[in-house]
């Protein structure tokens, strides 16, 4: 019997009791649909993380001030003000691996433009910040070093801010007010999207750090210019670890820390954070895939159960087939093909449902999903394997029947 004919006769045998066949397939259907959906969601999450990595830059480090101990009470990270603009400059000059450095300060503020207002983050930094973050402008220009030195009243705004304040109008050369300080918009940043924490990175106003210090925050123009963070971009091809070690060494020297003393700053590698996140999302996806795998196994057991019932029900048919010349392997093949057909048809239905579910999750829940051809191949392979594995025992039982016993079966 050739394969096509066997397949057709298997389909016919299953079609004669189609409700039972569909119910039997349910386990496989759910399992395959779950595998496809889970892999698509996991793939989407991974893709999003990869995009974030790209948007953050994989060669960026963040130097943050350390915790402050005030009368024995430790106040947690970033409460100290141990980092200065001079530190930033020293890193840029003394660490050869470093390509660019941008110190920054930030605060939340209400912004007003003509008749719109918006609460956003205002950040003061240097002209190098856009280079450090690989963040080109969508239109206009950035501020230059002269403006940074002269506390110029200029601002570069993120896309979200531009939309909130100006709608579709061109924001370039428009005036905005931050805490009563009028600023001229000179540039609009391109879209950066969400960061790994889900914050909108485009919801920001960037001003020269001197403007921020002197006019936005109104700090006393002290001798020491403290900063909230220093973003460091390491040159392409240079080791992050090495750069980090050198920065640490430099800052310890500058801060005159004793050999045993703790750092009064911390260095964060954004890539590492993302990798940790990626790892956790991968573990999550694997857990879900394991659940889906369990449901495939349960589906397989369902198939085995029904095939055993079918062998019992059709014992006389098996006897007749043997009487007219079927060999054991013909009977084995027949029932094996029925089991595989059952699981493959179930797998096909599962793939359709899985794709539909993936699409629904993508469009209604707004999750990023990534449907891969591999996951479909995997599902097909898995369901065929389930069919062979769980179909083999019932098929062998059928093939091992003695002709006369099968024929005489009541």
């Amino acid at each position: 019997m050739n394969l096509l004919a066997a397949l057709l006769s298997a389909l016919r045998a299953l079609g004669t009791n189609w409700l039972r066949s569909v119910l039997t397939m349910l386990g496989i259907i759910i399992g395959v649909a779950a595998v496809i959906t889970m892999i698509a969601i996991g793939g989407g999450a991974q893709q999003r993380i990869e995009e974030q990595m790209k948007s953050l830059g994989t060669n960026i480090m963040l130097v943050l001030p350390g915790a402050v101990t005030s009368s024995g009470v430790r106040l947690g990270a970033q409460t100290g003000q141990t980092l200065t603009e001079e530190d930033a400059r020293a890193i840029a000059v003394d660490v050869p691996e470093v390509q660019a450095v941008a110190p920054s300060l930030r605060t939340g503020a209400q912004v007003v433009a003509a008749n719109a207002n918006w609460s956003t983050t205002v950040m003061g930094t240097t002209a190098d910040y856009m280079e450090v973050r690989d963040w080109p402008l969508a239109s206009g220009r950035s501020f230059d070093e002269v403006e940074v030195a002269g506390s110029a009243k200029v601002a570069v705004i993120g896309l979200t801010v531009a939309q909130q304040l100006f709608g579709d109008a061109d924001p370039i050369d428009q005036m905005i007010r931050v805490r009563k300080l009028p600023l001229q918009v000179v540039g609009v940043l391109s879209r950066k999207g969400q960061n790994s924490m889900g914050q909108d990175q485009d919801d920001i106003i960037v001003v020269p750090i001197s403007t921020f210090r002197n006019r936005v925050q109104g700090m006393s123009a002290g001798r020491i210019k403290r900063v909230g963070a220093i973003t460091v971009k390491v040159r392409e091809g240079q080791s992050m670890q090495e750069a980090e070690a050198k920065i640490r060494e430099l800052l310890r020297q500058r801060h005159r820390l004793q050999a045993g003393a703790e750092d009064d700053f911390s260095i964060r590698n954004l890539t590492e954070m993302l990798e940790a996140q990626e790892e956790s999302s991968r573990v999550m996806a694997m857990l879900l895939a394991a659940v889906a795998g369990v449901s495939l196994v349960v589906g397989g057991i369902g198939i085995m159960n029904i095939m055993l019932v079918s062998v019992t029900e059709r014992t006389r048919e098996i006897g007749l087939r043997m009487a007219v010349g079927a060999r054991s392997r013909d009977i084995l093949g027949q029932f094996l093909i029925e089991a595989v057909t059952l699981s493959l048809v179930g797998g096909a239905i599962g793939i359709v449902i899985g794709m539909a579910a993936t699409w629904a999750i993508g469009s209604f829940a707004g999750w990023q999903v990534l449907l891969s051809g591999n996951s479909i191949l995997l599902a097909v392979g898995f369901s065929a394997a389930v069919g062979v594995f769980f179909g083999f025992y019932p098929a062998r039982r059928a093939a091992a029947l003695l002709p006369i016993q099968a024929l005489r079966h009541e």
Partner: protein, 237 residues
């Protein structure tokens, strides 16, 4: 050389702590072209003999040769091949595959003989023609009368051109008139050269055969030739 040579066949079953002798030292020769009726009460061993001759069952002791070939010691696959090519079976309950057309049912032995689909279809239709069911080829068993179903079963038995047809109570599930028709068909096949061995417990069905063997308690108690009843005789009866 006889078509069937059975020598000292014994078949015993164990039922609990009791051993039942279904066949007790049965020796028998059946030549090609014979039409044999095997009679006896139920449990007399006639069906057991039939199953052993049909290679569906193996004897406990004794030997069986089919067309000179020793059957004992053959593998399951070899027995399947013998059933497939040399023997056609006709059963009391027809044993057709349900929800499967007559022609597909008739094709079944050829499927296992490895014959190509087009050739299968041609020969199956030919066989149906031969049993007078050429017009019903696409009907399923549920759409056919008992007599028609048995004709389909006979066509299935014929289709691989075996030497021997084994009929186990072929009229057991049919009314008298239909039984006559089926016996008429078997007689025609016998006249065309087919060897037919038929198990029955009905005397008037056994009368169609030319040789009658009677079983009792696993032994042959009577084996004689008889003038076969004919269709003409049936018509006047």
């Amino acid at each position: 050389m006889a078509l069937i040579e059975a020598r000292a066949l014994v078949k015993s079953y164990r039922m609990g702590d009791q051993v039942v002798q279904a066949l007790n030292d049965v020796s028998l020769d059946i030549d090609e072209g014979e039409f044999v009726a095997i009679m006896g009460a139920s449990g007399s061993g006639k069906s057991t003999l039939m199953n052993i001759i049909g290679c569906l069952d193996r004897p406990t002791a004794g030997t069986l040769r089919l067309a000179g070939e020793e059957v004992e010691g053959l593998s399951g696959d070899a027995l399947a091949a013998i059933r497939n090519r040399r023997i056609g079976f006709v059963f009391q309950q027809f044993n057709l595959l349900p929800r499967t057309s007559a022609v597909d049912n008739v094709e079944l032995p050829m499927v296992y003989a490895g014959i190509k689909p087009a050739e299968r279809r041609r020969r199956a239709l030919q066989a149906l023609e031969r049993v007078g069911l050429g017009q019903r080829a696409l009907h399923t068993p549920a759409e056919l009368s008992g007599g028609q179903q048995q004709r389909v079963a006979i066509a299935r038995a014929l289709v691989n051109s075996p030497k021997l047809i084994l009929a186990d109570e072929p009229t057991g599930a049919l009314d008298t008139q239909t039984s006559e028709d089926i016996m008429q068909l078997l007689t025609e096949l016998n006249l065309q050269g087919m060897t037919i061995v038929m198990v029955t417990h009905e005397t008037d069905i056994a009368q169609w055969a030319r040789r009658r063997i009677v079983f009792r308690d696993g032994r042959i108690v009577e084996d004689r030739l008889q003038p076969p009843r004919t269709a003409a005789a049936a018509a006047t009866a």
